[in-house]
């Protein structure tokens, strides 16, 4: 399970609040007082990336005015609502200058979300954006927005029209998908292994504390279980804190829209890569392949950064090296923002009426299962019917007619990599896709995912402090600290349920009675 789905699931439910009846028990003593709705303040990059001069970062929630004061040096009054003001934007902790840009203040309810909001219009470079997002995440009570959260808050505040409410599900779908892909990329590597390792160790800590609470009275729980937890927690705290301080040593972030070329062997995938690279529209700067089977190239398509990957041909193979290549290819397709499925046109059925069904079938073998959120109808797939020069003109035209606006199938382009016929049309389609994707602030913006991760790691460390604070006074409250820390880490690595903790307890201890 992926973190984003958890986050979404959690926040999606917030919209329900208004519909639930007031809890009958929410009165009287000892019932926690009902917190103000959405007490947390959230932020997100709300402009696209690519070659843009200005990036817009939005903040929404009760702490928005505090954010504005802290980051824009507004010690006195706030600016008049909805008026742009040119300010120096600084890091609230280090007071380091991050950028000069416009700030705007929106007093609730006169804002997109109905809450107090602020906007920062800053320079569009990735370094500036990352710095501002990280500075925001370091403020107390402020965290990166989950997918669709701004929209949901607007929905909550009655700021959305009926049609927008209808579209909410699709919007959230799109955003979670983007976040999921982003997280997949981020988790795929050294950093991912690091987080998984922390999660594993924290789970064990929690399991041991829970075992001590639930079983130590009846069972032989080895002496010193809690002492072990003490030192493990301390070790984890140190490691996470060190990681948070060491900002430059992060992994190389792959920026740009991730476009993956996939398909059967000999369909002409590599030719497509070369063709795309040779066109004047595409400026090539090759990066040494990270793996021997996937060739990655940075391109600039219509002014937008694209990371193009060529993958191994998909087929069942007995060769273990090739099998690994195919596995990686499939993994890459799952992480892609856009997949170009290349098909050899000479393999299409001669009867144009059968082509749609054939392609449908073919796509299902290339694309990951529908649970991964990718379907043939998805706007994240383009079909490239290569080697069109080898198909009779008349058959091609009839097939094109047949495939035009066929529901359930992505757009298909006939193309010949060897003669370049059809290339212009294909590039037009590709460019518009890339442009749309770049307009989505989530795709290809690893800094945002990174900011989310930082925020959760920080909260995780804070929660671990609670463990030490209560360790000797009240073990239930101390355990709460570990539970909370794991919840935060779980938003990066996947949610952890009570059953999983019990599994560890029963594996590690001989529990009876």
């Amino acid at each position: 399970m992926l973190p984003c789905s958890w986050g979404l699931w959690r926040s999606a439910i917030h919209t329900l609040k208004t519909f639930s009846r007031a809890s009958p028990s929410a009165r009287g003593l000892c019932i926690p007082t009902r917190a103000v709705c959405d007490a947390e303040t959230i932020f997100a990059l709300s402009s696209g990336h690519g070659r843009c001069g200005v990036a817009v970062v939005r903040v929404s929630g009760p702490a928005s005015s505090m954010v504005l004061r802290n980051m824009a040096g507004l010690t006195q009054a706030l600016p008049p609502p909805r008026t742009a003001l040119l300010r120096r934007i600084t890091d609230p902790q280090s007071k380091e200058l991050l950028d000069r840009g416009l700030v705007l203040w929106f007093k609730g309810p006169h804002s997109f979300t109905g809450e107090d909001s602020a906007e920062f219009h800053i320079h569009g470079g990735p370094a500036v954006i990352t710095a501002v997002l990280q500075a925001l995440g370091s403020l107390e009570g402020v965290r990166p927005a989950e997918a669709g959260e701004f929209t949901r808050r607007a929905f909550h505040a009655g700021k959305l029209g009926l049609t927008e409410v209808e579209g909410l599900g699709d919007l959230i779908h799109a955003e979670t998908e983007a976040q999921r892909r982003q997280a997949l990329r981020q988790m795929d590597g050294e950093l991912g292994r690091l987080y998984q390792d922390w999660s594993y160790r924290l789970k064990r800590c929690l399991a041991h504390v829970e075992a001590f609470i639930d079983f130590s009275e009846d069972e032989l729980i080895e002496d010193g279980v809690l002492n072990q937890v003490d030192s493990s927690v301390r070790q984890l705290e140190t490691e996470i804190e060190r990681h948070l301080k060491d900002e430059r040593r992060g992994e190389r972030l792959r920026t740009g829209v991730q476009v993956v070329i996939a398909g059967a062997t000999n369909a002409g995938k590599s030719s497509l890569l070369n063709t795309l690279c040779q066109r004047p529209a595409a400026i090539v700067s090759p990066i040494a392949g990270t793996t021997r089977d996937i060739v990655e190239t940075s391109l600039d398509i219509g002014g937008f950064p694209v990371l193009l990957s060529d993958t191994a041909g998909l087929r069942d193979s007995s060769d273990s090296v090739e099998r690994e290549g195919v596995r990686r290819a499939r993994q890459r397709v799952e992480q892609a923002d856009l997949t170009l499925v290349v098909v050899d046109s000479t393999q299409l059925p001669p009867d144009p009426q059968l082509v749609a069904a054939f392609l449908q079938e073919h796509l299902s073998t290339v694309l990951p299962s529908p649970e991964a959120g990718m379907t043939a109808a998805s706007d994240r797939v383009l079909l490239v019917l290569n080697k069109s020069d080898l198909v009779p003109e008349e058959q091609r035209e009839r097939t094109e007619g047949e495939l035009r606006e066929r529901p359930g199938l992505p757009p298909a382009c006939f193309l010949s990599c060897s003669t370049s016929t059809g290339l212009e049309d294909f590039l037009t389609v590709l460019q518009s896709r890339v442009k749309t994707l770049c307009g989505d602030p989530l795709s290809g913006a690893p800094s945002l995912t990174q900011a989310r991760h930082r925020a959760h790691l920080q909260q995780s460390v804070q929660a671990l402090n609670q463990y030490h604070q209560y360790r000797d006074q009240d073990l239930a409250l101390a355990a709460e600290g570990v539970r909370l820390a794991l919840t935060h880490l779980g938003r990066i690595t996947g949610r952890v349920g009570a059953e999983e903790i019990l599994d560890i307890i029963f594996r590690d201890f001989c529990i009876g009675k």
Partner: protein, 715 residues
């Protein structure tokens, strides 16, 4: 009939119906029938009767009502919380424990009051007597000795395939005697008219609600050594094959198989207790029940427990006897936390395992060896016991044995514990895959409440997992199902620091009276007065505010982390480890000393309150999820919303009760949840109030509903 019953509900519970008329005694129709007289059955019957339903409890043997089939103890960590909650809802087991307890202790005393585990060793006789006399004095409750042969359900409606409605039960063998609330035995005239003719001469009794609490008796088999015999408990008649058939074949319910076991009972005199370690009870017993200030057993009358350990010899006997032991060779899943000594030894070889020697009662000459559940042949059981030094001369009174039994996969139930596909059929206890008296009692109570409510035409109710361990238990069962016998642990509760044993009355009693109807007026009044008293006391604490310097002067040398100038009120101060309410009361006697009786509860409240407040938002979220119910007959396969086929199939198979349950389903996508949510909100009001099968009219109404349901959004 149902309308007539309504006036009896709730407030009249205490007004005892003095006696029955002759025609009542021959009743062939009840509001609620409860099958089984164990922990679930007795709580269910008592709860339904408290609610105002005319209730019949059917058990194979009246004398085994309230019997403790296995361990002679109640409560513990997690389980003690359940007992407190059952008591807060006016159930029986808490008071029964106070009456029967012979060794009281609060487990986890050093680990924080949220995880304290009230526990007691019980006198088996006293427990049984208390439950039996309690049931006999419960108005509207009749007890009948007999065996249920068949569950009567109405013919499935051709338009609703798979849907049934309970109409009653059919008794098997003709009962010789039955027992009413006044303690008289009375015969059932075999030829009563007025109900459906029974073809085979057996006895139908009609009812719109039936609670099945058959424990291990559903296709139960007993195992000892290499012998197997049908049954659910040694010494009792074997069980209801007919019932099993109805559940599986007629109703098409999915069942699974589980196993459990019990240790041999040892003659006390034969044990060398000097070789075991004495475990003393608490000096001052703490009652389970909120109604009791002391227990029946006086502090000095309490009996001790003894602790001893297994030896390598025990492991040897287990290994040598594996081939003679059918039970452990079976596939059925046993509990991981209550394993037999065989599975412990095989799973964790080379270790020393604890064995508790527990008293069985004040007058009993037996000891119960907790931790030595076993199913090997009796002669080997004896050999095994004697490998333990304290038991080297031990004599066995009754050998240990294993039980395997069917359970109904609880995901087929609603949060009111009713079978989804069968109106009026409720299940509680081991039949739902749980283990333990407390888990059974908790479900029994809630099933009884809802059976009573259904019979009285009141809507069913659910308990939230944010409000009680009972809610956690039921939500886990119906939402996730079980793969092994389910036992309660505090680690299962997300809001453990709020679901504490000390505040169960405040969490549940007022609601139990005002909304549910299962709490008597006496208990309600008491809980309300406690609530008001605590509220006042908290306000009084908050009203005394001093700077931390002044506090130090007043209370002597206490360590406060705050700055000298910070102002702290009494409640803030009470959070500190070394500050007690008594200290504060002696500093401010005029406004605090009147609240001495609450001193412990106030201290606990002060420590946990800030934390609970932090969690309140999360609790609110879960409550909202739970409050959005999904109609049980929703046609997911053709729902006019954008859901993938996979998600549709998952929803169709599991049929989650609430949106909350839907979000926890593996394979469910966030977008799917949003689409479902939008759909439910749009059609929600309609679905709640009208027949939602009528699809065509529903579609016409969608636009209007959308506008209507949008109004609360903009509040």
């Amino acid at each position: 009939m149902l309308a007539q019953k309504l006036h009896l509900l709730r407030h009249n519970v205490l007004s005892f119906v003095s006696s029955r008329t002759g025609s009542d005694l021959t009743r062939r129709q009840y509001d609620v029938i409860v099958v089984g007289g164990g922990h679930a059955g007795t709580e269910a019957a008592a709860a339904a009767a408290r609610l105002g339903a005319e209730t019949l409890l059917i058990t194979q043997k009246i004398m085994t009502i309230g019997a403790l089939s296995c361990n002679p103890s109640l409560g513990g960590v997690g389980k003690g919380q359940l007992v407190r909650e059952v008591d807060a809802l006016d159930g029986l087991c808490g008071r029964a424990g106070d009456s029967a307890g012979v060794h009281f202790s609060i487990l986890n005393r050093s680990k924080g009051p949220a995880v304290w585990g009230p526990r007691a060793q019980l006198d088996r006789e006293r427990y049984r007597q208390f439950i039996q006399s309690e049931l006999l004095s419960t108005p509207r409750l009749t007890v009948l000795e007999g065996s249920v042969d068949e569950l009567l359900v109405s013919q499935p409606n051709p338009e609703e395939p798979g849907h049934h409605r309970v109409t009653g039960i059919r008794l098997g063998n003709l009962p010789q005697t039955s027992h009413n609330k006044l303690g008289e035995f009375w015969p059932i005239p075999p030829d009563r008219a007025g109900v459906t003719e029974s073809v085979d001469g057996s006895h139908p009794i009609l009812s719109s609600s039936v609670v099945l609490t058959t424990g291990t008796f559903l296709s139960g088999s007993l195992f000892m050594g290499q012998t197997t015999s049908p049954g659910g408990r040694m010494g009792d008649a074997q069980s209801c094959a007919g019932l099993s058939y109805t559940l599986k074949e007629t109703l098409g319910l999915r069942v699974g198989r589980l196993r459990t076991g019990t240790p041999p009972r040892i003659v006390k005199e034969s044990v060398d207790l000097s070789l075991a370690q004495l475990q003393a009870p608490d000096k001052q017993p703490t009652p389970f029940s909120f109604l009791n200030t002391h227990t029946r057993c006086k502090p000095e009358e309490q009996l001790p427990c003894y602790l001893t350990h297994t030896t390598p010899g025990v492991e040897r006997v287990v290994r040598e006897s594996v081939h003679l032991n059918c039970h452990i060779q079976q596939d059925a899943k046993g509990p991981r936390y209550c394993p037999s000594i065989e599975s412990r030894v095989l799973r964790f070889p080379g270790r020393r395992h604890q064995v508790w020697l527990e008293p069985e009662g004040l007058t009993s000459d037996l000891l119960y060896p907790q931790g030595l559940s076993m199913t090997m042949p009796p002669e080997l059981q004896l050999r095994l016991l004697r490998e333990i030094p304290a038991l080297h001369r031990a004599e066995i009174r009754t050998p240990g044995y294993g039980v395997q039994y069917d359970f109904v996969c609880p995901t087929q139930l609603t949060p009111s514990l009713q079978v989804k596909s069968t109106q009026g059929l409720f299940l509680a206890g081991q039949i739902n895959g749980t283990t333990g008296y407390e888990e059974a009692a908790a479900q029994g109570l809630w099933a009884g409440v809802n059976a009573g409510r259904t019979a009285l035409s009141l809507p069913p109710m659910a308990l939230s997992r944010t409000q009680s361990y009972i809610g956690v238990l039921i939500d886990d069962l119906v939402g996730r199902g079980v793969t092994e016998p389910y036992r309660m642990f505090t680690s299962r509760a997300e809001f453990r620091t709020y679901l504490r044993p000390d505040n169960a009355d405040l969490r549940l009693t007022p609601r139990g009276f005002e909304e549910v109807g299962c709490v008597t007026l006496r208990r309600y009044k008491k809980a309300v007065s406690v609530r008001d008293g605590l509220q006042e006391a908290l306000m009084a604490l908050q009203s005394v505010a001093l700077s931390s310097t002044r506090w130090r002067e007043k209370l002597g040398n206490i360590s406060l982390s705050e700055n000298k100038s910070t102002t702290l009120n009494g409640l803030d101060l009470l959070q500190y480890k070394d500050v007690s309410f008594e200290m504060l009361a002696s500093a401010f006697p005029e406004c605090l000393s009147q609240y001495f009786e609450y001193s412990q509860r106030l201290k606990i409240e002060a420590v946990y309150r800030p934390h609970c407040e932090k969690q309140s938002r999360e609790m609110e979220r879960i409550r909202s999820e739970e409050s959005l119910s999904l109609p049980s007959d929703m046609d997911y396969l053709s729902l006019p919303v954008s859901l993938s086929q996979e998600v549709r199939e998952i929803l169709d198979r599991v049929r989650p009760n609430t949106l909350g349950a839907a979000t926890r389903l593996p394979g469910m996508t966030p977008a799917g949840i949003i689409h479902l949510l939008n759909y439910v909100l749009r059609t929600g009001q309609r679905n709640r109030h009208t027949e939602h099968r009528n699809r065509s009219s529903q579609k016409e109404g969608e636009k209007g509903q959308l506008c209507a349901s949008n109004i609360p959004i903009s509040q």
